[in-house]
Every structure is written in C-alpha cells, then in structure tokens.
Symmetry: C2
Subunit: 332 residues, 2 copies
C-alpha cells in the first residue's frame, strides 16, 4: 500500500519539477473526496506564489481538424526555442471511456517522449464545470513545476470553450479549408472568442483552398467590431503535418503578448479571469447546494411540469422553490 | 386618491382589451413592492390560459439603424393585414432618464395613434434581469388583451438580446449597409441568434451598397452550421422610410411560423423557453438572496481582494462564502 504524501512532499516535488509528483498532485486536485479536496486546497494555496508566469494558450477546433498533430508540431517547436510546454485538456465527452481527445498519448508520440514536455489527459467523471475547475488547478500546478507554456486543448462544440477562454491568455481556433461551409460544427460565438484563426492542412492540393478560406474568414471577421484589447485576430494558415507555418504562429503569439502587456490588457485580463472564476464557482456551488436539497428535489418535477404546461409563472415557481430551500435551512 | 383595482377588475379589463387597464396592469407587474408583486402573480396566473396565441417577435439593431421607423412601418402594415400589434421594449440603458428606445412615443407617431396598436416603453429602474422579467410578463398581459403580434424591441449591444431571444418566436436583426464594417457595435453572438437579417435604408443611393452588404452577410452566414430548427436565416433588404420590402419580411415570418409549426420546433421552442425562464429566475433569485445576505456582504470585499491578488483560490473562496450564507440560515 502506497504511503500518502504530505503537503510539503507534494509542494517540494512539484516545485522541483518532479513529473511523478506533479502527476500525483493533479490526481489529487481532480479528486472529489472531501479529505483530498481539503489537502488540494492547502497545496494549491501554498503554491499560488509560484504560479502565473506561463503563457496560457487555449486551442480548439472540431474533431478531424488535426489538433493533436498541430499541438505536437507546435510543442516540438517550442522545445526547440528553449521552452517547456505542458498540455492539458477539457473534454466534455467523458474521455475516460471514449478518449476523444488526449485520452491516448500516442497521438502525440514524439512530444510525449520529450523530457521538456508534460502531457495530461482531461479529468473525467465529473460535470463540465468540475472538469474545468480541475484543469484550471492542474494548470497552476504545471506552472509551479516550471512549465512556461501551458496549452489547454478542447473540442470546438460547446460550452467548454467559454471555460477555456476564461483561463487562458490567448485563444486559438483551428480550422480546415473546405467546401465553403468549413465551419460546420463550430458555433459562431466561438469565432468571437478567438485571438487567432489558424487554417490547418494547408499543404499539397489544399494550399489554394486554404488561401481562399483565409480570405473568406478575414472578410467575415472584418464585419465585426474591434475587440476590447485592441488586437485584431489574424487568420493564418499552416500545415502541422509538414511542419509549415508554425514559427509564424508562435511569433504572432509573442506579438500579442508584447502588445497586450504594453497596453495593460494582459494583466487586466488575468485579474478579470480570477474574479470570473470566483463568480462561476459561487454560482455553481450555490446551484449544486440548491439542487441537492431534499425538499427541492421532491417538489421540482411537479413545479417544472406546472411551468411547462403554463399553469405557473416561472418567476413565481422560482420563488416557491427558493423559499423551500432557505426555510429548510432555517429549520435544521 | 385613486382606488386600487382588485384582481377581477384587472382581469376583466385586460381580457376586454381595455387599454387603460392594460397599462395599469403592466405598471403593476413592473412594481417591485411586495404587495404589488403578490397581486401581479395572482393576476398573471389568472390570465395564463388566455396567453400564448400571439406571434412574438424580437427586433434588435444598433442605434441609428432605424428601429423605430422600421417598427412603425411594419406595425402599420400589420394593421392593414387585420392584425393588432403591441410594441414593448427591453432597454438596458435606463429609458426613463435617457429614453434611448421607445421612451418617446412620438418616434412612432402614426403607429401610436392607431387604436389597433399598443406601445409601451421599457420598464426601468431595475436590473436588466428585472426589466426582462417585467417585459416578459407585460407580453403575457398584451396577449390576454387580444394583441396577436407582440414586438419586443432592444438595442443590439449586449446581454439583453439573450433575454429577448428566450421570449420570442422569431428574432430579427436590423442592420445597415455601410463601409464594409457595418456590424460595428453588433456582437458576433447576436448574428447567431437571428432568424433573419434585414438591411434597412435600402433606398436612393444606398440600394447598391445594401445589395452588396446582403451578399456579404449571406456569405458570412453560410460559413456557419445549420440551425437546429431547420430554418436558414435569410438576409433581406428594406426601406422602412419609403415603405419598401415590408411585405416580404412579414411573408418570411409567416413562412417561418408555418415551417416550424409543421416540424414541431415552434411548440418545442415555447416549452424550452418556459423552462429556461424558470432556470434563469432560480439562478437570479438565489444570487440575489446570496448577495443580500449580511455576513456575505461584510466579507465579500476582503475575499474578492484575496482572490484578485492570488492569495486565495476561487473555488475555495466560493466555498467559504457559501458556508457563511447557508450556516447563517441555520442559526436564525
């Protein structure tokens, strides 16, 4: 039976860049057991002063866009430049059973063999919010362990992008050139969040189509208003498979960092993100306590049915349920 | 001193289409006083069986796009067709003081003189959520009073669109042709919600630019995936000022209703909207109770500062605050 590590052993191991202890620490922050959670909070708050110095990068795109190939090429390039990349994931589709992203490390075979890189599949078996919180905390651990670029991968199909956007400095949307409707499956709102669009698989017969797609997206982006940070999202092309265009993408990210550090947006964004995570956690934990409440659970189906069939006003129904929730608290 | 109406007087007046009583009833649902609120809930639940039969239409667009002129032309056309339109508004910018939309009825001078139409400015002096709830309930009252088309106007600049979208059957985005960047000020997410884009001021020298903008938007929309309801949002042009293209817009709305009533989306959407309003009201009222809690109010600034300066994890901070909130309830 393995001895459990104590806080100091965890903290020293992580700070020394010990990958085995880092992995164990991530497992700890992913755990839902109350005693693990208490330990995780202590560990994380002990390490907080050593976090925050990485470049946090979100990468999304629909399945088939070549995310793994891209992240492998990008990560190898970063290592060449002297960086230490960590790759995490938020996968809403239960990766433990299906492994749709990062579940299989062999998908980034070369990168996963590099001692400078650290790859970790998505947490699983929890709500999307839970997975996102675990990934957020895993990111802090990777930073404390000395990784200076943290890449968070997700699938471009829903709510997970909003969560990734709220924990990264730069959000990159990978796309494919295609038959004019290449954004199938990508929600429009996701384009709005991107700091750059990258059209992958710009190689061979596909180069011309990629250039055309680039122009189409540039035109589409121009229809929208200037972003708050003063950065106009560029549209780039690359071939992750043939390792083309990767330098240009990293240069773009460096330029973004320089520009937003100068205009103050970089730090402002980080601070906003912290408060956003607080609000998000508050809302989530309040609703969790509410829906776990016995009387609420008992009455909810009837009240929902009454609202559905237009017998009860939504606002009135909400008031009834919340009185149940808060009164019960009083009586206990 | 005016005598207060009782429930039956309100209900009978509204059902008889008495505009003065309808106005008073809307004032009642806008009130935040607890005794008014109780009466409002009774009245609304008494009237619920008489609601739901109107065509609920949301209209948005940035200031200057000609919303009032459009709604006037559209409303007058509807009256010609034998309909009775009601026009409501959700204006996040405190219309009582600034009157940015609908504050000044003279902006729809001809429509406001028609006995078949009913125009009501946005509720004010409340949070956006509160204004939206009041407008939602005003819509129900208008339906009970026999108005068979309810138009809800808002400004295309933020969160209010999401709320309007969740209470209407059809969401129309008004735009202008311009210098290629005509969507300045419109968030990309709003385009995603639109069931039709209408380019206004397609008249005189502007006709060619409007046609070009139409093609640009059609191309932009084609980049995105098919909507769940099977309806591909068309891009139309009109001149509200010269009364051109209005019929075509109403025909499009009729076609939408026919198509979605056939494929079941119409009713499914209405049912989803009711549950969405319940969830929204729950979340809002829970957070309201939370932030109004004395101990939470006292501790929040320090805890937020600790999160902001990276001394406390967001999830941990949330847990501390919620324990405060729920324990206090226990002690009372």
């Amino acid at each position: 039976m393995k001895r459990r590590l104590n806080i100091e052993e965890y903290a020293e191991g992580v700070l020394a860049g010990n990958r085995i202890i880092l992995s164990k620490a991530i497992t700890l922050v992913e755990s839902r057991r109350p005693q693990d959670r208490a330990l995780a909070v202590q560990l994380l708050e002990r390490l907080l002063p050593h976090t925050g110095s990485s470049y946090r990068i979100g990468i999304t795109g629909v399945p088939g866009v070549g995310k793994s190939t891209f992240i492998e090429a990008f990560g190898l390039y970063l290592i060449e430049q002297g960086h230490r990349p960590a790759v995490l994931a938020i996968d809403p589709s239960s990766p433990k059973t299906k492994g749709s992203i990062l579940g299989d490390k062999t998908r980034m075979e070369r990168l996963s063999l590099c001692p400078e890189a650290f790859i970790r599949p998505s947490a699983s078996g929890r709500s999307l919010g839970g997975v996102a919180h675990a990934t957020h905390e895993a990111m802090l651990l990777c930073e404390a362990a000395g990784f200076d670029v943290v890449i968070i991968e997700t699938v471009g199909v829903g709510q997970s992008e909003v969560l990734v956007k709220s924990m990264v400095d730069f959000f990159l949307l990978l796309m494919l050139a295609g038959a004019g409707d290449e954004l199938q499956g990508i929600k429009k709102g996701i384009m709005e969040m991107a700091d750059a669009l990258v059209i992958n698989k710009a190689d061979g017969d596909n180069i011309k189509a990629a250039e055309q797609a680039k122009h189409a997206y540039e035109n589409a982006l121009h229809l929208f208003r200037a972003p708050e940070n003063g950065w106009f999202p560029p549209v780039l092309t690359c071939s992750a498979l043939y390792n083309k265009g990767i330098k240009r993408i990293w240069d773009t990210l460096l330029q973004f960092r320089e520009q937003t550090q100068q205009n103050g947006f970089w730090e402002k964004n980080r601070q906003n993100q912290r408060l956003e995570w607080l609000r998000f956690a508050l809302q989530e934990q309040l609703l969790e306590a509410f829906y776990a409440h016995e009387e609420v659970k008992n009455k909810l189906p009837d009240i929902e049915a009454a609202v559905l069939h237009n017998k009860l006003l939504p606002q009135h129904a909400a008031r009834l349920l919340i009185e149940l929730f808060l009164n019960q608290q009083t009586e206990v």
